[in-house]
Amino acid sequence: MTLHKLGHFHGGLHLDDHKAESTGQPIEPQPPGKELVLPLRQHIGHDAEAVVKPGDRVGKGQLIAQPFGDISAAIHAPTSGTVVAIEGRPFPHPSGLPVESIVIAADGEDRWAQGLPAPVADFRNLSAPELTQRIREAGIVGLGGAAFPTDAKLRIDKNSISTLVINGAECEPWITCDDMLMREQASGIVSGIAILQHILRPMETLIGIEDNKPEAIEAMRQALATARLDNTEVVVIPTLYPSGGEKQLIKILTGKEVPSGGLPLQIGVVCQNVGTTFAIFEAIVEGKPLIERVVTVTGDGVQQPHNLRLRIGTPISAAIAAAGGYVEGVAELLIGGPMMGVALPSDEVPLIKSANCILASTPANLRRHDAHPCIRCGECATVCPAQLLPQQLYWYARAKDHDKAEDHHLFDCIECGCCDYVCPSHIPLVQYYRHAKGEIRHLRKEKEKADRARIRHQLREERLAREKAERAARLAAKKAALEKKKAAKQDAGDTPDPKKDAIAAALERAKARKAALQQEKAGKTAQESNESP
């Protein structure tokens, strides 16, 4: 075992981890329910495009929506049944607004579809692009919560990766799905890592796990020893929220910082979550697309917190029922952990790919709404893992001073909630940042739209002007020709000389041709200069 020198990030919090509540019991597989709802937008990027229509029969694992564009993800039928509708359905988001979704009524047979891609006996026989394509076809997205299409992270230049980081930190309180997956499926995860290594050819692979998961660390180490992967190592990191944040974990493991506003790729790092890695293993080695995931159903608001293996599209209410139902007086329902999770207005929404945790809380675990003015104590800056000045950001966000807020790196805020949690004045800081970011993005989009409209308008004006000039030129030419005819008639009246006439006409023709040529050229350059502003 080598000792890896750890870097560290600024700030962070020691939180009660509440992991023990949901790790007492193995992951429990759940049968599919009666109705599954699959939103076409459950990943970052472009919505998927439905390839089935109401009335179609589908088999388990069948493609029902294909990715649209480079950054998008496929969606598959989580069980066999019939497509009963493609319509807007409530989505796991605080707004509760509907998202276009494919609704499948299960037939109870849970029968695999025909013609699914065959399992790959030895992935080493496939090229990197082939493997990446299979990962894309399996609809895999980041399962740590970000839901970024995984294949998009893997389409890179050869030999540009120095470190592959596998994220098993799982730093948020209450969530244990990665922990349990590592305990139970370490060899599958390690196979997934081997596939990623085959695609990315990194110089080293570092698996970061917080030291509050000794069983997972042990299981992963053993699986690694069995698989004998070169330059691959489990690195035990201190438990400190948010060490599982991509940028923070990269700093801890490699000592390097992802450039502000940039991507890990720029410093030769690719980061994948252990759950995603396991999904890659299942897709390639077992030929299964992403139709289920491990979810921690926990909190002091459910009867029996534990981890479930649930089909994507299962109603949250069914997941809660599988965990023994709510306790009396439950007050809040979250997707994700307490620090970064989003609150749901209702449990009648489907489980989506990015949902790692369903957390139900009683009033004892809610935030308070008794905000006082900021006393500039600086606690927020002390704990901010992005080294921002949250207090200043708050003032600028509140005053809608967007330029200043961006100047103070608003967009480097990872919304981890550390500042908010320690603020003695109980100011909902993250809410302010999220709002300001949304507003700035909106304004940018508006501006882009306005710019595009302005350019369109300019082009139109120029085209109209050109057409007008051409019309005028044509008119003038016609007039000249007419006049010449008249003059020629007069000439003919004096001394008819057909030879002279013919020469003059030829001269005229040559001149006109030259003029037309010039005109055409001028028109062309005008057009070109328009096209490249």
Binding site: F9, P94, K251, E257, V258, P259, S260, G261, G262, S317, Y326, V330, A331, E332, L333, P338, M339, M340, G341, V342, A343, L344, P345, S346, D347, L359, N365, L366, R367, R368, D370, H372, P373, C374, I375, R376, C377, G378, E379, A381, T382, P385, A386, Q387, L389, Q392, H409, D412, E415, G417, D420, Y421, V422, C423, P424, S425, H426, V430, Q431, R434
Partner: protein
């Protein structure tokens, strides 16, 4: 089932302004106890009177501004301001002096600017400086430490002095006042005496003035407790005390007959109270780590300059107020490097 929605993070907060303020008050208690031991009932009477005045003024203004009264009063910040002001005033300060001081601190310096969080100047120090400039004579009516005094003032005597200005038979201001250590040195130097000459005549105590040294040490202990609890950061106190200590060390080495020693500077006046409790006021101070260090160094330096060459015996208050003015600029120039920024 339906749920209410809220923004992340979804956890009860760990900190609380009201608790922070109460902890500051708690940390002041050792210093208050020692001060009462050396200066008698006056200290406690002033604390009670000033607390009532501060809370009363704040409630009144809030009512006038049509703001909720109870949540703001219960943040204890007015009480902290009142106590800090009292601890900077002479122990037998008359009631009207307290009233004017608290009025300027709470009403003018704090509430007129919008209340806690919006005041650019340290309210207690505004109150103090207003009094120092308006009533310089009253402000120097410090009494001799009880350990050196040949008089005794009981609770009722002290109450009478505070509220009516009348002394028990046979006593008057002249009989009970004595210059503070810093004052003693100042006026001595003015008269052409050297530090070593003064040392023989006046109650220098063990380290830096009878009574004063122990009060300072008690504030130091309270301050260290605040540091340990993470309620204040180290930058301001360290910057302030280091600047004051180093400057006085250099100058007293250069001319020991004119400049008093670092120990005397650090323990003979308001340096400890200032370093741990006053200059650490977050609202009016600097907020970045480096900025706080600079803020502390600034206060320490200004204090040393005023003590050595200025017209007032102590300079903490002016140091704090001057640095309050510089704080926004300091913050602007000491922004920490952001993660991933090159």
């Amino acid at each position: 089932m339906k749920f209410q929605i809220d923004s992340s993070p979804h956890l009860p907060p760990v900190n609380d302004v009201s608790r922070l303020m109460r902890q500051v008050l708690l940390a002041l208690l050792p210093g208050i106890a020692v001060a009462s031991w050396y200066f008698g009932w006056g200290v406690l009477i002033n604390l009670v009177v000033a607390t009532l005045l501060a809370v009363g003024f704040e409630a009144l203004i809030l009512a006038i501004r049509r703001r909720p009264v109870v949540p703001v009063i219960s943040d204890y910040s007015a009480v902290v301001t009142a106590w800090l002001l009292v601890l900077a005033l002479p122990p037998l300060a008359p009631w009207w002096l307290l009233t004017i001081g608290v009025f300027f601190a709470i009403v003018v310096a704090k509430q007129l600017y919008g209340g806690l969080g919006y005041n650019p100047f340290n309210p207690a120090m505004v109150g103090y400086v207003v009094l120092l400039i308006s009533f310089p004579a009253t402000m120097t009516n410090w009494m001799a430490p009880t350990t050196l005094a040949d008089f005794h003032l009981g609770l009722s005597d002290a109450l009478r002095v505070t509220f009516t200005g009348e002394f028990p038979p046979g006593l008057d201001w002249d009989a009970i006042t004595a210059a503070t250590p810093l004052d003693t040195v100042r006026s001595g130097l003015r008269l052409g005496e050297s530090i070593s000459e003064m040392q023989d005549q006046i109650p220098f105590g063990l380290l830096a003035g009878e009574g004063w040294e122990w009060i300072s040490i008690a504030f130091l202990l309270g301050g260290l407790w605040l540091l340990w609890k993470g309620i204040i950061d180290w930058q301001v106190p360290v910057g302030l005390l280091a600047a004051l200590g180093l400057l006085s060390a250099v100058f007293s080495l250069y001319d020991p007959e004119y400049f008093s020693s670092p120990l005397y500077q650090l323990l003979g006046g308001g340096a400890m109270l200032g370093a741990f409790f006053i200059a650490t006021d977050p609202v009016s101070g600097s907020t970045t780590p480096l900025g706080r260090l600079l803020f502390g160094i600034g206060v320490g330096t200004i204090t040393f300059v005023i003590r050595s060459w200025g017209g007032y015996p102590d300079g903490i208050a002016f140091g704090v107020l001057l640095m309050n003015m510089a704080a926004p600029m300091i913050d602007e120039y000491t922004r920490p490097r952001v993660y991933g920024e090159r």
